[in-house]
Symmetry: none
Subunit: 200 residues, 4 copies
DNA sequence: GCATAAACGAGACGGTACGTCCCGTCTTTGA
DNA sequence: TCAAAGACGGGACGTACCGTCTCGTTTATGC
């Protein structure tokens, strides 16, 4: 007999309400002042229902944030094959997404959760930046065509650098970058690739 | 009579012991489980003595971390004037410094403090990365000589990118980069400057 | 159509297992730390099966205790007609019964249940001491013969006094009384009756 | 240096407020529904202040009840030397005291605490009935004069019997006894002493 | 023999209270 | 006047049970 079907089944609405409450509190009061009791109260749920499914505040926040961020699909323009143009387009789109204050709050919440639970900080950031990184690499590779350069390595460095820079901006509450700053960053990154490509 | 000098003077040893206790606890148990009571107990000090001088846990941690990091003077090799060589030398020296686990714990503690108090996250990161940024810019500028390029802007982007990348590595518990990865990063950054310099 | 016989009939083994589990827990951990969940787990029964048949912990304990105590039939010696001898014989037999630690635990459990539910404290004690009281009165009356004294009133007082004294001993964890103490109690009680008989 | 005087001294008003709150709750809702949180809230005190000074609910209740009962000084009439008269006078005075519903609630609370913590049930009842027992023995002995009988043993049995009977009445919510019942009890108890005295 | 109906085990649910830790404040003694 | 000690009112922790509520399953009755 299947063991998984014994007893009252899990209430999926309660599950969803908890994650939504976490995101709401993250935006409203931040990670430190988010408490399990407030989450439960806001979700209209018993405390034990939270503890039954998540072992800690940081794990709860991690799942809520990652689930919340994944729901948001970034608009991605067509790749043109011109590296500078494409990098700038991706960067502008990504910055626009980040401009949403509640999204920034979620990212900051995840950073706090990672600081809290050192043991899975790595995993959290991987899950956070991984999809964007893959997407960016695919986007640029498609635009560039094939055979030009050691794309995998180079584009990996580019993607990491851009991810790090954007995370840094969020964590430090930097205002949106000026066009000039965007220019500089694109030039830096694209120039690097160009140089390496020329040298190879 | 001077008002400020009336009564028992502040105990500088208690002050130092508190900051040291904070750093020890950050390394041992992390930001979340660091409490004022533990700090006071570890420092052999009354709780009130902590509250008298610092308004919050995050402020206390911020001061302790910044004071702790500043004490560590990074060894900085002579600039050669070859940009790639100099950037790599600085990067290697910086990575070596970061490799110290307790120093990484301090940086993570500061990140948690910043996540805790959004209002001065900006200031904290500025104080954390500012000196390194200035130092890097001066180091590279000195090596490059003058008049070549729009150094301030270009080097600023380089410095920010490197700072972001190194913070990202610490927060995500990345292992020390391989020589290959260092190569790639140097190429990216230096290539960018070269490109822009050539274009100007 | 008979409404009461439709559906699966009550499981008498579960019923008995629950009561037995209650008695076991009363002996082992006492009334306060006895919980419905522990009872259900120990009886190998779902919680709902307990709640289906008993409205409260105190009602459950009351039934379990009374059922448990009734099962124990006290040995009762032949009445001789000599009041002092008969009272002493009954008292010794009763004290022997009470000496069983698990029986004492049951009585204490009932006292706790009564303290818990004031509204039927009276009923609980009546059901607890009632049978013993009747038995004692009948025993003494039979021994005494008839027509001597206002037996009902006198013997009622005697019975109440003895019941109260024995309950008091159990609740206060008094050690078994010495022969001397038994003597004194018998003398007190019998002397009272004799006096009244003489005076009438 | 005296260790006991370091730090902020205990707040005696909070202490008193807690005990008073316990007594109020015992009267209002009974032992089982009295919770530490309600006590603290009613006393206007933090929960920790309760836990700092009392290890458990039963210990708290025990102290509150005993302190509360001791405060009530029973009126005690002059002893006449006539044993029956004196016993009846004491019994009537004691019954009158017990008639106060809040006092009865306190006694029931103590019984519940004793059932809860078997290990000091003995002590609790001793402290509860001890003073009354001593007082009764002294009262009767003074009235009887000296040299008549083995007073200590006899009066001890009388006192125990009366204490047990009165506790039993409280626990079982018996209504106030009729004059007839009082008569019977006095006769029983006094007759016993008389008999023994005559026999000696 | 097949629908209806109740009892059963399991266990998730919204809650209450537990006893503990820590918050930031206050009140004492001692230097 | 500062500092240690430590008690204070309060908030949140993570756990144990409360009494209720689905589930799938079992065991009876009666059409």
């Amino acid at each position: 007999m299947a063991r998984g079907t014994v007893g009252r089944p899990r209430d999926t609405r309660a599950h969803a309400a908890i994650l939504e409450a976490v995101r709401e509190l993250l935006t409203d009061v931040g990670y430190e002042r988010l408490t399990i009791e407030r989450v439960a109260a806001l979700a209209g749920v018993g405390k034990q229902t939270v503890y039954r499914w998540w072992p800690s505040k940081s794990a709860l926040v991690a799942e809520a944030v990652l689930a919340g961020l994944i729901r948001v699909d970034a608009y991605m323009p067509e790749a043109t094959g011109n590296l500078a143009t494409d990098v700038r387009a991706w960067l502008v789109a990504a910055l626009e997404t980040q401009a949403d204050p509640s999204r920034a709050a979620l990212v900051r919440g995840l950073a706090a959760a990672a600081a809290d639970r050192v043991e899975d900080a790595d995993r959290l950031y991987t899950e956070l930046t991984g999809p964007a990184r893959q997407e960016l690499i695919a986007y640029l590779a498609h635009g560039l065509g094939s055979g030009q350069i050691r794309q995998d390595a180079d584009l990996g460095v580019v993607a990491d650098t851009l991810a790090a820079t954007m995370l840094y901006r969020v964590l430090t509450h930097r205002p949106a970058p000026t066009p000039r700053e965007i220019d500089d960053l694109v030039t830096l990154v694209v120039g690097g690739i160009g140089t390496r490509a020329a040298a190879t």
